[in-house]
């Protein structure tokens, strides 16, 4: 069995930041493995550990920078990685879900996995649409926002829980192959061991261009344009207490006493 896991690195913004052009100034960004993908990788690795002959392959659309996140996924137990990048992709401001799904689908068609796991969303642009779009492009089944998964490979069925709003889970059976978008909390992602980190350096990481995948720049065409970025105006009128901790804690305590708390 082969499991393909989509992995991306995401930009995390410092507490204090400035906007430069369309995006947050690079000085205020750090990159890390997308939290949702961390859970997806863990889920795949656990399936591989419980089964026989399960290969876990990660696929990423990202620049060289993203190899740090990819190596992390490899260190946690993925077997090999594919990274898609191209100068033509680098020129784009916005990688919308449909474009990302087109690129991922090209890799999926080559890899022919039995199962694709994808994070529910990426922590930076949060489109939350790539996984389901990918399923539709491949003509496979899917389930979004999965927080429990049991595979019956003989029957070709994934039994999942989907985390709905308000503390309710939907129990659904989907036919394999399928794309499942993985919600945080489905498992406890491991830390990479030193041995894993060493091994990851030697695991295959193939870089593929549009041409390598049999695509051209038309795969990047979209009518969506990213035209502006602003810091939202603060809507709140919070009274923020300032000063030393004794002072501020005292002020907060007064508010609590006023509200009748701790009397």
């Amino acid at each position: 069995m082969k499991i393909l896991v989509t992995v991306t690195d995401v930009a995390v913004v410092d507490d204090e930041f400035e906007i430069e052009g369309l995006d947050v100034d690079e000085r205020y960004l750090t990159y890390e493995l997308n939290e949702w993908d961390d859970y997806a990788v863990e889920e795949a690795v656990q399936i591989a550990e419980d089964g026989e002959n399960v290969e876990v392959v990660t696929v990423t659309v990202g620049p060289e920078r993203s190899e740090e996140a990819i190596r992390k996924a490899l260190a946690k137990g993925a077997d090999r990685a594919v990274r898609v990048w191209d100068d033509a992709i680098a020129e784009r401001d916005l990688l919308d879900a449909e474009t990302k799904a087109s690129l991922l689908a090209a890799v999926a068609r080559e890899e022919e996995p039995d199962l694709i796991l994808s994070g529910v969303q990426s922590g930076d642009d949060s489109f939350a649409a790539t996984g389901v779009t990918l399923a539709e492009k491949l003509g496979t089944e899917w389930a979004a926002v999965v927080n429990q998964l049991a595979l019956d490979t003989d029957a070709g069925v994934a039994s999942v829980h989907r985390e709905l709003e308000g503390g309710v889970e939907e129990l659904t059976d989907v036919e394999l192959p399928a794309v499942l978008t993985i919600q945080t909390g489905i498992n406890e992602p491991r830390y990479a061991s030193l041995r894993g980190i060493r091994q990851a350096q030697n695991k295959p990481l193939d870089v593929r261009t549009l041409g390598d995948l049999g695509l051209d720049e038309s795969a990047l065409e979209t009518p969506l344009r990213w035209t502006a970025t602003d810091e939202p105006e603060t809507e709140g009128e919070a009274t923020v207490f300032e000063g030393g901790v004794d002072e501020t804690a005292g002020e907060l305590a007064a508010v609590l006493r006023e509200a009748g708390v701790g009397q």
């Binding site: 089944e141 309710v168 344009r225 035209t227 939202p232």
Partner: protein, 317 residues
């Protein structure tokens, strides 16, 4: 031109986002000189159809197929209806079920999809406002085509009031059952147990800023001193440090205590959806730009490991 908005229901009830979609759809229809059509797929379509007769709606279409949401059925039904009506703008909810079919139906119809909209404007083209980086910035996405699918964040638009005289029309669509390759087998309530945080008058709520499980005592001590109940935001529950029944937010409990003390909680939209109804909100966070301060009444921008013990001490803890 035509705007089509698709309602959402679960376990016998239309969800509020349905009426918000109607309101957003009415604005968009006004701005683009379009008709607004609503649709509902499955469930008690007769009563749902009547409930969707709202101001600004030109017609309501009902697809009588199954009791509960099934993404394969919704994709087929909405695709056929959108084709039939020659829809220009398709509005769907940015909910867990919306995420489970909106991208697929947009792909099938060849529509670009913009998700998690918090605002829409029309200035020649459709401009969608959405947030990035956990609500730290707002971005504008311009749709340079005549047609698009947009998913709308719940609770960002008002609910369209009842009114108007839109006809409710059954839409007859044959669902290809061989293409329905998923089956909803049931529902499960989670988060039961010893404590019902939605009953608490005072909640001491802890988030990612607590860092590690061993640090939770800092928060428990404060809760004890205040005779309050401990609750949490998602990362703390995901990490297994507190049980699911303590989780406040969209996927957890909605709480309305007299006082809500948010400690090390940034205030992501999913969390705020669960606690914005609290009478008084206090926030302690090191990040002055954390969205929690947009909704808090009082705040301290400082290290929780300094502030919380000092606060506990104020109450003799």
């Amino acid at each position: 031109m035509t705007v089509l908005a698709v309602a959402e229901h679960r376990r016998g009830e239309l969800r509020d986002v349905s009426y918000e979609l109607a309101a957003a759809g009415a604005d968009l229809a006004d701005a683009t000189d379009s008709e607004l059509h609503l649709a509902v797929v499955g469930g008690d379509v007769e009563s749902f159809g009547e409930a969707l007769v709202r101001e600004g709606v030109d017609a309501v279409h009902t697809v009588d197929h199954g009791e509960e949401f099934n993404h394969d059925v919704s994709v087929q039904a909405v695709e056929r209806l959108a084709d039939e009506l020659d829809v220009d703008y398709l509005l769907l909810p940015h909910t867990v079920n919306g995420l489970d079919y909106a991208p697929a139906v947009a792909e099938r119809l060849g529509l670009p999809v913009v998700t998690d909209a918090v605002e829409m404007a029309v200035d020649g083209t459709l401009e969608v406002t959405r947030e990035m980086y956990g609500s730290k910035v707002e971005t504008t996405i311009e749709v340079e085509s005549e047609r698009a699918a947009v998913t709308l964040r719940p609770a960002e638009w008002p609910q369209a009031p009842r009114g108007g005289d839109a006809p409710v029309e059954p839409f007859d669509v044959t669902i290809d059952e061989s293409a329905v390759r998923s089956t909803v087998t049931g529902f499960e309530e989670v988060g039961g147990g010893d404590v019902d945080i939605s009953e608490a008058d005072v909640l001491v709520s802890v988030g990612r800023g607590i860092g590690e499980e061993d640090n939770l005592d800092v928060v428990r001590d404060l809760a004890e001193a205040l005779d309050a109940t401990v609750s949490a935001s998602r990362p703390v529950v995901d990490s297994g440090w507190l049980p699911k029944n303590r989780q406040v937010g969209q996927s957890g409990k909605v709480v309305t205590p007299d006082v809500y003390i948010a400690i090390g909680i940034s205030g992501a939209v999913q969390h705020v959806a669960g606690m914005k109804g609290a009478d008084t909100i206090l926030a302690i966070n090191t990040d002055p730009n954390a969205p929690i301060f947009d909704i808090a009444d009082y705040g301290i921008v400082d290290d929780l490991f300094e502030v919380v013990p000092a606060l506990t001490e104020e109450f003799g803890g």
